[in-house]
């Protein structure tokens, strides 16, 4: 029973799309919150524009609004739903900022909505840097010396006081956006200039440099009775200067004495009280000067954060869940600790293991970006690992990254390289850990590297310990028990040991297992074994005692998708979670294996048992063995977690592990080019002409044969990694030369590139006899732009029934031909009315959550049951999981239209010169997340999707148009329409001429290449930066306009106005703009959409 009985309904704001700095962790915390609110009997209203989240599953709320998270839209929802309260602390900075805006503009007061879990005064004290400095001072602690500035001139005055280098931080931005270090006046002008733009309050903080200090963070909880607990201390391996999201972090703090730790704790408690965080969680960051112990408070977040998700996973203390209960009026001592059951939540977790989190970066996707790590977060995901010591946890975490070169390299370091490595380690980059470790291996001292990197000597010594063990392994006469035991105890993988002893991984594993050297599984219990744990949340360690309990039923193991990365994100976790939920409901015991702390799948009560483990063959095989010996394994799902588990399928099958759903042979059929084309041939389907090459000669021959342009890419990739459209031979040669990993096992695939084709994406289920076509998505951008970066619409808006029929027939033929059992995703291209099959993936795809939300059918749940032998017919009838008749390709005409739009991270990445990287879309995926706009018609749905992607289309103002020659004919109608609607059209050169001849009065402006005029008239880029332009429409042309195009796109990206780069998207935008000016924005919940859709379907089936 809630302690407060006056609250009947509550609105929760989610965090929107996955972006750098605000990712899946808010789905994890939001989902926990919704579960609590439902359990407590409240009516729950949710707004979140991200369809790939578990929290937006209709069953988690009473009314789920997949709508843009803007104050205007949320006000509409409030007006419609009239909630008693608003809970804004679980949706990251987005939710908090929205709540502040709703308070400021009087909406909360107007509708009598109470903020719970936070109050505006506390948020402002915590987030406003100057006010927060006052708080810190009143708490008897120190802040770094600083100045708040609002103009460049003020910044220069401040610089005279603080000296360089200095830290620049814009106020009220998330993930440290716009922050940086200024080493000189040029830097200062540049970073402050951008920062003033990023900050919603045009406010920037300049601060004395505390670079190289030790960095710590404490996660706190407070209840209404002023009980405060520290949930977790987190220590950054990287000293101050690297954003904590980009740093390797360790829990608990390992290099503080109790006195120093208690000092941080005392300050944290004083601060949380002074700020007045009423109930809930917050985190506080500290810097400690290594030579003196001087403590400086860096900042606080008065809300649940990325770190609190990490802290929850690291300790087993469910911060978001408990924060939600506290917001309802409970106190910490009234809330039981789920894990121990007997003890209350009013305690501080104590760990008997070490947790290491490592970031995963995607710099390879942004070759122009400067890889230096700064106070602006750039990582796109993270992996966490636990071990019984730091070395074990670190090595497990590194191999959890699944990135080539992520594991430590113990090969010989030549002496000459050591000074270079030491020099390099002065600058924080993604490689610094490796540089430091290799410098030590090459003979450098801990002192030298501390001097260079300021990484605490204790950690450096741990790296040295690993180096020493690597030498012992190398020098060992054989794979002796002592050597293996010692190596495993410090986290060496079979693969690493194999490399050091010139054995294969299999041989090492065989010997190791024969010697009985196996990991045991310990339990995360919040209390270092002081009390019995009732939650089977396990991690492996090479220690003595195993804690996995016997289980009565054979388990179903679901392999997760590992760290989020571009191309494999939260969508795959969504499918894993759904599968686990459906299978548990069907009476199975499920086991989740994953290493991503941000996700819902690694919440300890999503599956029957959770193993927080890397997803390598070795680690997965050991988990399977542990499950085997404690009660047996029914099988393993590899089709839900994306490419990560899929690539283990064959090896697992070879090891005798039953694979549920689609078989490894079938997976191979779909993935192997040759075999797959036979499947297509048999079905009478065609794919673009293609070939496989292992050398330039091969590639040239194939390209000549099929004709340029060609699409080239490595095989077995996700997210279009390394994919490129090549227009001529010199570029083909360059591509092959740069592709490092070409082997006969990993050839380069070469396809004819279909220009101006419509791309179509399909997700379907197949049980061996019947197919359920989940949905057909029509891409808005033409083929050639990665499907993950392209907007798409469901149901398709321009495809005729005849095309849909062909798509359906082709999908069935492929599913049948490959032998799918469960989910399959197929990409088609329609060019000149010919349907080409681009590729088929016999697994859950990125679009499964979108299709599920758009059609109200839970595809991943159905797929999981098909994997256990349930038929589609049974799912339609007995399980009621699929509609009785019809499917996603037969939606009624009045079905709502859903648009998925990608969210791209360009504004995060800077070239070494400090400019943003180019925002042109291409065949390589670069988006981090997605949003969904759903409405009755395409135009408004598209408008919603753009607003949700933080690219709200303008309804008046100035639009800049500059298009490539080939596009000039196709844009006239659209530009004319905008002009007629009253927009001022601004243009340059040839485009302006064409527009004028078509009767569109375009205002000419100077090209970037022309530079400013003698009279001081700026170029288009200057106008954009000055905020004069409301939308940019620029299509790239190969040659002359390239640099101009880049400059103006960069300008648009850096100030955050919509920048459209394809004609197709422009046309959609014109429709949407017109709709925005014509119709009132209406909000409809998913539940309402689904009810209408099912009513319409039922009516249709009764009429039929």
């Amino acid at each position: 029973m809630p302690k407060r009985t006056d609250l009947k309904s509550v609105l929760v704001i989610g965090s929107g799309p996955i972006v750098i700095g605000q990712a899946a962790e808010f789905d994890y915390s939001g989902t926990q919150a919704l579960r609590v609110l439902k359990e407590e009997g409240l009516r729950v209203i949710l707004v979140n524009s991200n369809p790939a989240t578990i929290m937006t599953d209709p069953e988690f709320a009473d009314a789920t609004y997949v709508e843009p998270i803007t104050p205007e839209v949320v006000e509409k929802i409030i007006a419609k739903e009239r909630p008693d309260a608003l809970l804004p602390t679980l949706g990251g900075q987005t939710a908090l900022n929205t709540a502040i805006a709703l308070d400021k503009n009087g909406v909360l007061e107007k509708y009598n909505v109470e903020l719970i879990g936070a109050n505006i005064a506390a948020i402002e004290l915590g987030e406003d840097r100057e006010k927060f400095k006052g708080v810190v001072e009143r708490c008897g602690a120190e802040s770094a010396r600083s100045h708040i500035i609002h103009t460049i001139d003020e910044a220069l005055t401040a610089a005279a006081d603080l000296g360089y280098p200095m830290v620049v931080r814009p106020s009220f931005t998330m993930g440290g956006l716009g922050s940086g270090l200024a080493y000189d006046e040029n830097d200062l002008r540049r970073i402050v200039g951008q920062g003033l733009q990023y900050s919603p309050t045009s406010e920037v903080l300049l601060e004395e440099s505390i670079l190289g200090w030790k960095e710590y963070e404490l996660e706190m909880m407070r209840d209404k009775n002023d009980n405060v607990v520290v949930v977790c201390s987190i220590e950054n391996f990287d000293p101050v200067g690297v954003h904590t999201g980009d740093s390797i972090t360790v829990a608990p703090a390992l290099t503080l004495t109790d006195r120093e730790y208690q000092r941080l704790r005392d300050i944290s408690i004083a601060v949380i009280r002074e700020v007045g965080v009423d109930t809930g969680g917050c985190n506080i960051q500290f810097a400690v000067e290594p030579d003196t112990g001087r403590v400086v408070v860096i900042e606080m977040n008065p809300r649940v954060s990325r770190s609190s998700a990490l802290a929850s996973k690291a300790t087993g203390f469910a911060i978001a869940k408990i924060a939600t209960k506290l917001s309802l009026g409970y106190t910490l001592d009234e809330i039981p600790n789920d894990i121990t059951q007997k003890t209350p939540a009013s305690f501080e977790p104590t760990l008997d293991y070490v947790v290491v989190k490592v970031p995963r970066f995607a710099f390879e996707k942004f070759p122009a970006a400067d890889p230096t790590l700064t106070t602006t977060m750039k990582s796109v995901g993270e992996a966490m690992a636990m071990g019984r010591n730091f070395t074990e946890a670190l090595q497990k975490a590194l191999r959890s990254l699944e990135q080539k070169g992520s594991q430590l390299d113990f090969s010989h370091v030549p002496e000459w390289e050591v000074p270079e490595l030491i020099e390099k380690s002065k600058r924080p980059t993604t490689d610094r850990l490796h540089q430091v470790q290799r410098a030590l291996l090459g003979g450098a001292t801990v002192e030298q590297l501390f001097e260079a990197s300021k990484i605490d000597p204790w950690y450096l010594d741990q790296l040295q310990l690993l180096n020493e063990i690597s030498l012992e392994i190398r020098q060992a006469a054989a794979l002796t028990p002592d050597m293996l035991q010692r190596a495993k105890r410090h986290g060496f993988s079979d693969e690493q040991i194999g490399a050091l002893t010139h054995n294969s991984e299999d041989v090492v594993r065989g010997v190791r297992q024969a010697l009985g050297i196996r990991p045991v599984y310990k339990t995360v219990d919040t209390c270092a074994a002081e009390f019995a744990a009732y939650t089977p949340y396990h991690y492996s360690s090479y220690d003595e005692e195993d804690e996995v309990a016997l289980h009565a039923k054979p388990s179903i193991i679901i392999l997760g998708s590992g760290p989020n990365r571009i191309g494999q994100g939260i969508e795959f976790d969504y499918s894993c979670v759904h599968a686990s939920m459906a299978l548990r409901k069907a009476g199975y015991e499920t086991v989740m294996v994953n290493c991503n702390p941000e996700t819902v799948s690694t919440d300890y009560d999503v599956s029957t048992r959770l193993y927080f483990e890397p997803l390598t063959l070795e680690d997965v095989l050991e988990v399977i063995a542990a499950e085997e010996r404690t009660g047996g394994v029914m099988g393993v799902f590899v089709q839900l977690g994306g490419q990560t588990p899929l690539k283990l399928a064959q090896q697992l099958a070879d090891a005798g592990v039953p694979i549920l759903g689609t078989s490894p042979e079938a997976i191979d059929l779909a993935e192997h080019r040759g075999a797959f084309s036979q499947v297509l041939d048999r079905a009478g389907l065609i794919s673009p002409k293609n070939g496989t090459a292992v050398s330039f000669e091969d590639a040239k021959k194939i390209a000549d044969e099929i004709g340029y342009p060609v699409l080239v890419r490595p095989s077995y990739v996700l997210g279009g990694r390394g994919m490129e459209i090549v227009y001529d031979e010199p570029n083909l040669s360059r591509y092959i030369a740069n592709a490092t990993e070409i082997t006969t096992e990993h050839p380069v695939l070469i396809d004819r590139f279909l220009e101006d084709a419509v791309e179509i994406d399909v997700d379907a289920l197949y049980d061996g006899t019947e197919m359920y076509l989940g949905g057909i998505m029509e891409h808005i951008e033409e083929a050639g732009i990665h499907s993950g970066d392209s907007a798409c619409v469901l149901p398709p808006i321009t495809l005729g029934n005849n095309v849909l029929d062909r798509v359906r027939t082709a999908t069935l033929a492929i599913a049948e031909g490959v032998g799918v059992r469960g989910l399959i995703n197929i990409q088609f291209a329609l060019a000149s009315d010919v349907l080409y099959v681009l590729e088929a993936n016999p697994r859950a795809s990125r679009t499964v959550p979108f299709v599920s939300k758009a059609t109200g059918v839970q595809m991943a749940k159905a797929a999981a049951l098909i994997g256990t032998g349930v038929t589609i017919n049974q799912l339609r009838t007995a399980y009621k999981m699929l509609p009785e008749t019809g499917d996603g390709s037969t939606l009624p005409l009045d079905a709502p239209v859903s648009v998925k739009e990608a969210v791209l991270p360009f504004s995060r990445f800077r070239t070494p010169e400090g400019k943003v990287v180019d925002s042109l879309l291409g065949p390589e995926m670069r988006s981090t997340g997605e949003v969904m706009g759903i409405d009755k018609h395409f135009d408004t749905a598209f408008a919603k999707s753009q607003a949700a992607a933080n690219n709200a289309l303008p309804t008046e103002g100035k639009i800049f148009v500059s298009v490539a020659n080939r596009d000039k004919r196709s844009v006239i109608m659209g530009v004319k329409r905008l002009s007629d609607l009253g927009f001022e059209i601004v243009s340059t050169g040839g485009t302006a001429d064409v527009l004028r001849r078509n009767g569109i009065q375009a205002t000419p402006v100077r090209k970037v290449a022309e530079g400013s005029s003698a009279e001081g008239e700026g170029t288009i880029a200057d106008l954009i930066i000055a905020g004069e332009i409301d939308m940019v429409f620029n299509t790239p042309s190969g040659g002359e306009a390239r640099s101009d195009g880049y400059e103006l796109r960069a300008a648009a990206t850096s100030i955050g106005i919509p920048c459209i780069t394809t004609v197709a998207e422009f046309n959609a935008a014109v429709q949407a703009i017109e709709a925005l000016r014509t119709y009132e924005w209406s909000v409809t919940s998913l539940q309402e959409h689904a009810a209408a859709l099912f009513a319409s379907q039922n009516a249709a089936s009764q009429n039929a």
Binding site: R259, E260, Q262, D291, P344, T350, P457, W458, A528, E530
Partner: protein, 424 residues
């Protein structure tokens, strides 16, 4: 940081650790033997030899130096559940007494190299110098779980030559050692000469507000410091102090500290406390001092299954309804009724209530007398190691002394007046 002005005085260095000899080499075999025959093999840590005592686990993630120098751990083999121990080395400020008291030390991963700006030497060196036998590389979590499930028990660490004996012999050696029940250890760890801790040495300006007599039953260095910081002069007296020793100082209050051993053996201190209470001198006790108050009031004490040893223990202050996170180290507890105020079995002391209770297991964590100026807690408000949430108790004692002195004045006055009336 605070320096230690506590007078170092000679003590009877009862060798709790036997046969401490040469430093352990990295590869020295070591074995931990529990009295029920469970054996854990690891390598030596600290000194090489044999250590016998009661195996207990401590769950703090920080503060190992405070832990090993806490006299309450005398004759105990301490298992640290935190896997990395020794990372910050040892320094002169953080020791809680003049020496290491743990009888033996059990860790998983000992630091190879300490790193901290205050570190003066490695923990390993410190253990060797003080002859403390330890073991590393064992599954400390398995040991902890074993102790949790099978209760705290006697154990032995054997390293070097000692580890080579047959398992049976080692178990016999453990079984031959003295159990903690019935152990009288306070006198062993206490100073034998009184000393004074002055407020001015800990940042207090001006004259002391009060003075107290603190009976050292194994007192931690931080306890008198917490008083001194609040303007209280502390006369630390040996465990053998008498009422005469106390009254000679004319203190405003009497304090009894934490300490090792079985409270059932502390008859001397119980008797002493009763006379203090009879004299209506304000009393505050911590840990052992809480158990002694319990016994003085007539309650019994009992041994917990595996004790409370950590710095994350939630305690409810029943007076305010607030939770404090406390530092705890106790294997015994007071057996008093939890519900409301009751008459003390020693009726002359009036009513008493359980003021603080463990939220984990409802163990009595504090006693408060309603009719005499006395209270105590089972946990450690002085922290070191641990959180400072309970520091208010020192203030509470100061208030109690302030009330008592104003009351004494009023009483005296009233008494004088009534006398006057009588004479009329």
């Amino acid at each position: 940081m605070e320096s230690n002005d506590v007078t170092e005085s000679k003590v009877t260095e009862q060798a709790v650790t036997a046969n401490a000899t040469a430093p352990a080499q990295a590869a020295t075999a070591a074995v931990l033997v529990l009295e029920d025959g469970r054996i854990f093999r690891g390598t030596g840590y600290g000194a090489t030899g044999t250590a016998l005592g009661e195996a207990v686990f401590a769950t703090g993630m920080t503060g190992y130096q405070e832990t090993i120098t806490d006299p309450s751990y005398a004759r105990q083999l301490v298992v640290q559940t935190a896997p990395h121990i020794g990372n910050t080395g040892v320094n002169r400020d953080d020791a809680e007494s003049r020496r290491i008291w743990v009888a033996g030390y059990i860790v998983r991963d000992a630091a190879r190299r300490p790193s901290n700006w205050r570190s003066e030497r490695s923990l390993d060196d410190e253990l060797i110098e003080q002859g403390i036998v330890g073991i590393q590389g064992v599954d400390t979590r398995a040991i902890t779980r074993h102790l949790r499930e099978h209760k705290t028990m006697r154990a032995g660490i054997f390293s070097g030559d000692a580890a080579r004996a047959a398992d049976k012999e080692l178990v016999d050696a453990v079984l031959a050692s003295a159990p903690m029940e019935g152990a009288r250890l306070a006198e062993e760890v206490s100073v034998d000469k009184a000393y004074i801790v002055e407020p001015r040495d800990f940042g207090w300006d001006g004259e002391p507000r009060f003075s107290i007599a603190a009976i050292d039953l194994g007192i931690k260095r931080m306890t008198p410091i917490r008083f001194a910081q609040r303007g209280v002069r502390v006369h630390v007296l040996p465990a053998t102090a008498t009422l005469a020793d106390i009254t000679a100082l004319n203190p405003d209050g009497v304090f009894m500290s934490n300490g090792p051993g079985d409270p059932a053996t502390a008859d001397t201190q119980v008797k002493l406390l009763r006379s203090v209470l009879d004299a209506k001198i304000p009393y505050f006790g911590i840990c052992f001092g809480n158990q002694i108050l319990g016994r003085a009031l007539g309650f019994g004490t009992y041994k917990l299954r595996y004790g409370h040893r950590g710095i994350n223990q939630p305690v409810l202050d029943r007076r305010t309804g607030k939770v404090e996170i406390t530092s705890q180290n106790h294997g015994f507890a007071v057996d008093a009724p939890l519900d409301g105020a009751t008459r003390a079995p020693e009726e002359r002391f009036g009513r008493v209530e359980v003021s603080h209770v463990s939220l984990n297991d409802d163990v009595v964590e504090g006693l408060s007398c309603l009719d005499i100026p006395a209270f105590s807690v089972q946990y450690h408000p002085e922290a070191a190691a641990g959180p400072h949430d309970a520091a208010y108790l020192f203030d509470r004692f100061i208030e109690l002394m302030a009330d008592a002195s104003s009351k004494t004045e009023t009483d005296t006055k009233t008494a004088t007046e009534s006398k006057t009336e009588d004479t009329k």
